[in-house]
């Protein structure tokens, strides 16, 4: 038997919130009173600001560029999910989901198994981040879990494609505010933004898709903050994509619980005990970014970077410098004496010049990706297979790659410039500098490049005819009233 009065009770207790305990007591030194974050210029609590934005957002009022960004995000994310669904980590996640034996309400992208929306979100999230091929927004892949969570929720609730677009925009804008408020959360704080910020972003998006009223949303957000997790030490292991899957599942769980009256604290973000202070202990935090919610769209103002190659993002400019020099070197590959790669300081932390012993290591080896690019052209999915690593021509050339840090190359936000110098045995040399990689804000991918990446990804798991239909749906996602047979297309027969 549900005891509704008790539920009201707690809520009542809570809505009086921080103040209740303070007001109840005559005792000094009140931790709760200090915590009442509303203290900052009598401002509204952040979760209430977010709730108003989430509940009030309407797609018809959003600038067309914002909607177009969302469309491309759906195409890109669907592509990397389809390709990622073939990865070992995704298979292990699906095996675990199968054990749960849950209700068959939603599709898992790239698999035949149907399961509950929460568990489909988990499997989808793992697949989306499995290859680290998903797009970067601000400083990380913080919105990676949003689309993986939205799709199964839409399938089970019958929400429309346009609803999904609105929900995605909301989730991305919320993520952007949290990241702008605490820019050092992941690089210095050690928290993987995909798992931490991603949980909150997914919850915000799911609350929107479920059309929850503004007064329920602080609970949803508060629950998601309590579930937010993921430490950076697990980069390079299967647990990194699990952060995305877990965050996607958390988003649905939080929205489902919050919609039914499950409570959380409305002051969960601010104050001495709040999310920012707790997760970024001692690091700089500013709550100002929350003020421009709804009046500015970070999806356009800051934009995101699509990854053109399925390997470490810091190596992309070096790859493109190599592709440019490839034309100059032409057939004289055997004459190369040295390939010297100069990168920025921060890029140097993420890439190396060792010959990779594994597919995973190949993604972070500048020696491998540069040599591969010179020999074979742009590295796409087939470049990162056991098979490709056996190529003696690439291996021989990789031995000639050296690297260093060039202090002139700035570590500006989201850039990782590279200079490449190829010296031939005869002494002749060619140089190329690349400041921005394809897919970055400055060099956006063309529609043709976006579709080529999608097709390359989808081909890992389906025929071109099905891939074409999926692409057609996603290209018109913001105008569609129904998903029609979309769910059968994204599953494996």
């Amino acid at each position: 038997m549900r005891d509704d009065t008790f539920s009201l009770d707690r809520r009542h207790f809570l809505s009086a919130g921080a103040l209740t305990l303070g007001a109840l007591t005559i005792l000094p030194d009140l931790a709760w009173a200090q915590q009442s974050g509303a203290g900052e210029a009598g401002a509204k609590q952040i979760s209430r600001l977010l709730a108003e934005f989430i509940a009030g957002f309407e797609l018809k009022n959003a600038p067309p560029e914002v909607i177009d960004r969302a469309r491309v995000a759906f195409i890109d994310t669907m592509g990397v999910m389809l390709a990622g669904s073939r990865e070992e980590v995704a298979h292990l996640a699906v095996e675990m989901v199968k054990l749960e034996g849950a209700t068959q309400a939603a599709s898992i992208v790239g698999h035949s198994l149907r399961t509950s929306p929460q568990l489909a979100a988990l499997a989808n999230g793992v697949a989306a981040h499995a290859m680290d091929y998903d797009f970067t927004f601000l400083s990380g892949q913080s919105v990676s879990p949003v689309i993986p969570a939205l799709l199964p929720l839409a399938e089970s609730t019958g929400a429309s494609p346009a609803d999904c677009v609105a929900a995605f925009i909301v989730g991305a804008e919320v993520a952007a505010r949290i990241l702008r408020a605490s820019p050092r959360l992941s690089n210095d704080g050690g928290w993987h933004s995909t798992g931490t910020v991603g949980s909150i972003a997914a919850a915000a998006a799911c609350a929107k898709l479920m059309k929850l009223p503004a007064e329920k949303i602080p609970d949803v957000l508060g629950i998601s903050v309590s579930l937010a997790s993921g430490v950076a030490v697990n980069y390079g292991t299967m647990t990194k994509p699990l952060h995305s899957g877990n965050a996607a599942r958390n988003g649905i769980l939080a929205a489902q619980l919050g919609s039914r009256g499950f409570t959380a604290h409305a002051a969960v973000f601010e104050g001495t005990a709040g999310f920012f202070k707790t997760f970024t202990r001692g690091l700089s935090v500013s709550l100002d970014p929350f003020k421009d919610l709804g009046s500015r769209y970070d999806l356009v103002a800051l934009g995101y970077s699509l990854k053109a190659y399925p390997c470490g993002g810091r190596g992309h400019t070096a790859i493109e410098a190599a592709l440019a020099l490839r034309e100059k070197v032409g057939l004289r590959l055997a004459d190369i004496a040295n390939v010297h790669c100069l990168v920025s300081k921060s890029s140097a932390d993420r890439i190396n010049t060792l010959w990779p012993e594994s597919v995973e290591a190949a993604k972070f080896s500048a020696a491998y990706v540069i040599a591969y690019s010179l020999v074979n052209g742009a590295p796409r999915i087939p470049a990162f297979t056991e098979e490709a690593l056996k190529d003696e021509r690439v291996r021989a050339l990789a031995r000639l790659v050296t690297a260093g840090v060039d202090p002139e190359l700035s570590d500006a936000f989201g850039e990782s410039p590279a200079k490449l110098k190829i010296t031939l045995k005869g002494g002749e040399s060619f140089e190329h500098r690349r400041d921005y990689a394809t897919g970055s804000q400055k060099v956006p991918m063309t529609q043709a490049q976006i579709e080529a990446k999608f097709n390359d990804c989808a081909a890992q798991t389906m025929n071109t005819e099905v891939a074409r239909k999926i692409l057609a749906t996603l290209n018109t996602i913001a105008e569609r009233r129904s998903f029609d047979d979309f769910w059968t297309l994204i599953r494996r027969a």
Partner: protein, 501 residues
């Protein structure tokens, strides 16, 4: 088709690269990575104790643990914690927060692998663990261990796993001891320090202990246990901002579920970083950025049992733990006041600083607030005696005699009583109409390690809890089974007793 080579790949990649940064991997100049050197204390601690990683120490402990070598007091403590935890789980399963969690679990319609305690529903191991965890922490009436209720998620997680695996009572007890001891070691990385200050240990630590316990029950091989530990570390969450809301018990449920999931994934070959606990940008380093930690505590795993040597407390009253000394001071004064309740002119409570941060004096308008209000608890204890579950109902709050007495209650923080903590000393001064002053100070509430709970109190608490949802006969049968748990041949009779109808 799965790609085994891919799995091996990642694993191999990791073994080479964990804890390392650019410096080790790269042919790049040193200065490029000099700034990467572990500036953090966690990083330094790791280097000092380089002999063995935390996850390897845990793996040795989980796989090498032999219950036959465990001292009897540890087994007795474990048995008592099972009684206490299952009791509060049964009572908590009736709380609204549990109904909401179970409604969600029902929606998942998962495979009926295990009992959800206090419900008729059966669910997957993970979801049963989640619902059990929420129920056991729902009333905040569960076992306090090391720092807060740090091990609260362990039993909720192992019950369904033991049921699904057909484990024996001895195996289940072994799993609990393992889980609790691992939790204790994580807490001891910074037991009284600021590391865990903002975090709810039930959530942030509990999942790691639950994972270790489940790894034992699932017979995860030693080589995969570091993966289990690393996955659990990455799923750990829960901080204090949500105290006083339903999300607090959710921390326990989520930690219990994560423990099961981490063990299942790790067993299947899912990888994580073996340095996840102590490494740079690892668990300890991230939750307490740059704070000093020690991983020495992990070295006495198997040699010392924090279940008997560490701080712990069984809660005798279902309300804020920091109010318990005040309640017991009032219970002692009750004998002195006798029938002169109506002659009380004033009641002043002196409390320690930490209690001052949580407790209030005003008469509560809700059941939840009553649990932290000395303005309610002291009059209740004086008039009715020890507050049990029945004290925290809408009906109990309507009592006019309590309201009248509450008006006379005031409180202040007394610096002489210290900062407070798991033990929070308190003093009450009652002034009667004729000017007589009665005083009582209480330093340790019953249930603490200084003032241990008696078997009779444990039984009384269990029966009070269990009878919230079942007959006294049914409650006594469960108690009899749990009280002899180590000697029981099988767990089979337990599961139907824990289900509803």
């Amino acid at each position: 088709m799965t790609k085994q080579s891919g799995a091996l790949d990642r694993r191999r990649f990791l073994r080479r690269s964990f804890g390392a940064s650019a410096a080790m991997l790269l042919g790049l100049p040193r200065e490029a990575s000099a700034q990467q050197a572990p500036a953090s204390a966690a990083g330094r601690a790791m280097q000092q104790a380089d002999a063995k990683r935390v996850s390897a120490l845990i793996a040795d402990f989980v796989t090498g643990f032999d219950i036959k070598a465990v001292p009897q007091p540890v087994i007795d403590r474990a048995r008592t914690v099972f009684i206490d935890t299952i009791g509060v789980m049964l009572a908590g399963s009736h709380e609204d927060v549990s109904h909401l969690a179970v409604a969600m679990v029902k929606g998942e319609a998962s495979a009926p692998q295990a009992t959800v305690v206090g419900q008729s529903l059966r669910a997957s191991q993970q979801l049963a663990a989640l619902a059990n965890g929420v129920a056991s922490h729902a009333m905040d009436y569960d076992f306090t261990f090391m720092r807060g209720q740090a091990a609260a998620a362990v039993i909720p997680a192992i019950l369904p796993v033991a049921e699904a695996a057909g484990a024996t009572p001895a195996e289940m007890i072994a799993a609990y001891i393992i889980g609790a001891e691992v939790v204790a070691r994580v807490v001891r990385a910074d037991q009284d320090g600021p590391l865990f200050d903002a975090w709810h240990t039930t959530g942030i630590v509990g999942g790691i202990g639950a994972a270790a316990a489940c790894a034992r029950l699932l017979k995860v091989p030693a080589a995969a246990i570091p993966d289990v530990v690393g996955i659990a570390a990455s799923l750990a969450s829960g901080f204090n901002a949500n105290f006083g809301t339903m999300s607090k018990p959710l921390h326990c449920g989520n930690a219990a579920r994560n423990g099961v999931m981490a063990a299942l994934l790790g067993k299947s070959g899912f990888t994580s970083n073996p340095a996840a606990i102590e490494g740079r940008h690892g668990y300890l380093n991230s939750i307490g950025r740059d704070l000093p930690v020690s991983i020495e505590a992990f070295k006495d795993l198997g040699r010392r049992y924090d279940l008997v040597e560490g701080r712990h407390r069984f809660k005798p009253y279902p309300c804020g733990g920091l109010t318990h000394t005040t309640i017991e001071a009032a219970l002692e004064l009750r004998g002195k006041v006798g029938t002169r309740i109506s002659e009380i002119k004033s009641i002043h409570c002196f409390v320690a600083r930490s209690a001052g941060q949580r407790a209030g004096t005003q008469y509560p308008s809700t059941v939840e607030a009553a649990k932290f209000s000395v303005g309610y608890l002291v009059p209740y204890a004086l008039i009715h005696g020890a507050p049990k579950i029945a004290a925290f109902t809408e009906k109990a709050l309507q009592d006019e005699r309590l309201k009248a007495l509450a008006v006379t209650v005031t409180a202040s923080v007394d610096p002489e009583l210290g900062p407070g903590g798991d033990d929070s000393p308190a003093r009450i001064r009652i002034t009667l109409a004729d000017g007589q002053v009665l005083e009582q100070r209480k330093d340790y509430a019953s249930g603490s390690y200084r003032n241990p709970i008696t078997p009779a109190q444990i039984q009384e608490k269990f029966l009070d809890c269990a009878t919230q949802i079942m007959s006294a006969d049914a409650a006594r049968r469960i108690y009899a089974f749990l009280d002899t748990l180590p000697a029981q041949p099988s767990l089979d009779p337990l599961w139907p007793m824990l289900r509803k109808g």
